[in-house]
């Protein structure tokens, strides 16, 4: 039997260690924001959570297209792992976002495009996970989930634009012409994004491997039952 790769565990470990180092950047290197004070530090956790959640959902889209084209079960399991990771990270992004909103805007929730898009994505992919938890024949489930995975990601830009027309008060941190952030803050944020990325990749890989092993065990069990 093949031994399991240690790469995912190493990724999780290195992500955790680098994120621990980022704490120094967050609390000592990056300046404290003038109006929000220490609460602004939430941003350094919130941003990577939101970005990697979005990337997870993009992976669901890519995996879904790949499954429809090649019918590879591995692509379907990648979608499952990415959707679970994305829902977890976007849920945490929503929690940190509401904490930020309370301090910055005086409300727990506001219909800002980015917050709204994150919430709607969370709803869509939580529904997608409910769908994955059902018990139709495996191939049919994979097909249905692939179709929903594609429709869900195509909807994201529309949700964002419609929520922006609805109303917006979110700060543009990277897109703003003047930068929106001090250079030290920007460097710290990028450090957090990279370290979270390592952690995310390890988590995704581990979950995908779990699903691969479960699938193999299910196949062996059904083969044993047939004999």
């Amino acid at each position: 039997m093949r031994s399991l790769s240690i790469v995912p565990a190493m990724l999780v470990l290195s992500g955790s260690l680098t994120f621990a180092c980022c704490q120094w950047l967050i609390y000592s290197y990056a300046p404290t924001e003038a109006t929000m004070g220490l609460t602004q530090k939430i941003f350094y956790i919130h941003l990577p959570l939101a970005w990697w959640a979005l990337f997870s959902f993009f992976l669901v889209f890519v995996g879904s297209v790949s499954y429809l084209l090649k019918r590879a079960p591995g692509a379907d399991r990648l979608c499952a792992a990415a959707a679970e990771t994305g829902v977890l990270l976007s849920g945490l992004a929503l929690v940190t976002g509401t904490l930020w909103a309370r301090k910055a805007w005086g409300v727990w929730w506001t219909w800002d495009p980015r917050l709204t898009t994150t919430l709607i994505m969370w709803f869509i992919y939580a529904g997608y996970l409910v769908l994955r938890g059902l018990n139709p024949p495996p191939q049919r489930k994979s097909l249905v989930c692939a179709v929903v995975g594609i429709a869900a990601f195509l909807d994201v830009p529309l949700v964002f634009v419609s929520a922006r027309i609805w109303r917006s008060i979110h700060p543009a941190v990277f897109a703003a012409k003047d930068g929106g952030l001090e250079p030290e803050m920007k460097l710290t944020a990028l450090g957090c994004v990279v370290s979270f990325g390592l952690f995310w990749a390890g988590l995704l890989w581990l979950r995908k491997r779990q699903l691969d092993l479960r699938d193999r065990l299910d196949t062996l069990a059904s083969a044993a039952q047939q004999q």
Binding site: I124, G127, A151, L154
Partner: protein, 225 residues
């Protein structure tokens, strides 16, 4: 393909309207939502135009879920789905046919919901009607394109309605915002931006999900349970 599409739509409309409960369940649910929301008003008080528009689209969305469940349940008995799959119609014709049937049924239901909004929620029509009719048709087109695509995913599943609702509702958010935005203007809450931006969103949604439905429906509408 168009002839077969219309045949599927005609079959679904005949079976829905002239057999069993027809559209009654969907209509009653929609009207009940209006009634329940009317309880939120004090005596002599009216719901704000935006809230009334939100209730209108909420009723429409629930109604749409029931309509598409009903349309796809038509083929659940006696393995009729296999018959439909074996017919010479291309599979996307089934999607389009059901979308057209759903569109007509939803529009019919909304013709009843509009007076219900006036009566139960104390609204009156203020704004220009052409943009209101346009956004109604555009939003219904998108809702039916997506509803017809995802209606098939719940086939053979228990608790079809709740399953379809949790998958469909969040995906419909852009259309619901567009519908509520323009609906509020029609009910007397004018916006400086007018309905133009919402029309654009609704058109983009329709284009994306009409294409998606046409391309992807064949993958999920299959013979197995």
């Amino acid at each position: 393909m168009l002839r077969l599409t219309l045949a599927v739509a005609r079959k679904d409309l005949s079976l829905t309207l002239w057999r069993g409960n027809g559209l009654m369940q969907a209509l009653l649910l929609g009207l009940l939502i209006f009634f329940v929301f009317s309880l939120s008003q004090e005596v002599g008080e009216n719901l704000s135009p935006q809230s009334a528009a939100a209730v209108f689209w909420l009723s429409s969305t629930f109604c749409q879920v029931l309509i598409f469940n009903q349309l796809y349940a038509l083929e659940e008995v006696n393995n009729s789905r296999l018959g439909l799959l074996l017919s010479p119609a291309p599979i996307p014709a089934v999607w389009l046919g059901k979308a057209i049937a759903g569109f007509i049924l939803l529009l019919f239901a909304q013709l009843l919901f509009l007076p219900a909004a006036v009566v139960f929620l104390g609204q009156s029509l203020h704004g220009p009607l052409p943009p209101a009719v346009a956004i109604l048709l555009l939003a219904d087109t998108g809702m039916c394109a997506l509803g017809s695509l995802l209606g098939a995913l719940a086939q053979g599943q228990a608790a079809r309605e709740s399953l379809l609702s949790i998958v469909l509702f969040p995906l419909l958010t852009p259309l619901l915002l567009a519908g509520i935005g323009v609906g509020a203007q029609i009910f007397g809450n004018p916006s400086p931006n007018g309905p133009g931006a919402w029309m654009g969103i609704a058109c983009a949604f329709d284009a994306i999900f009409l294409a998606t439905g046409l391309l992807l429906f064949s993958f999920i509408y299959a013979g197995e349970e």
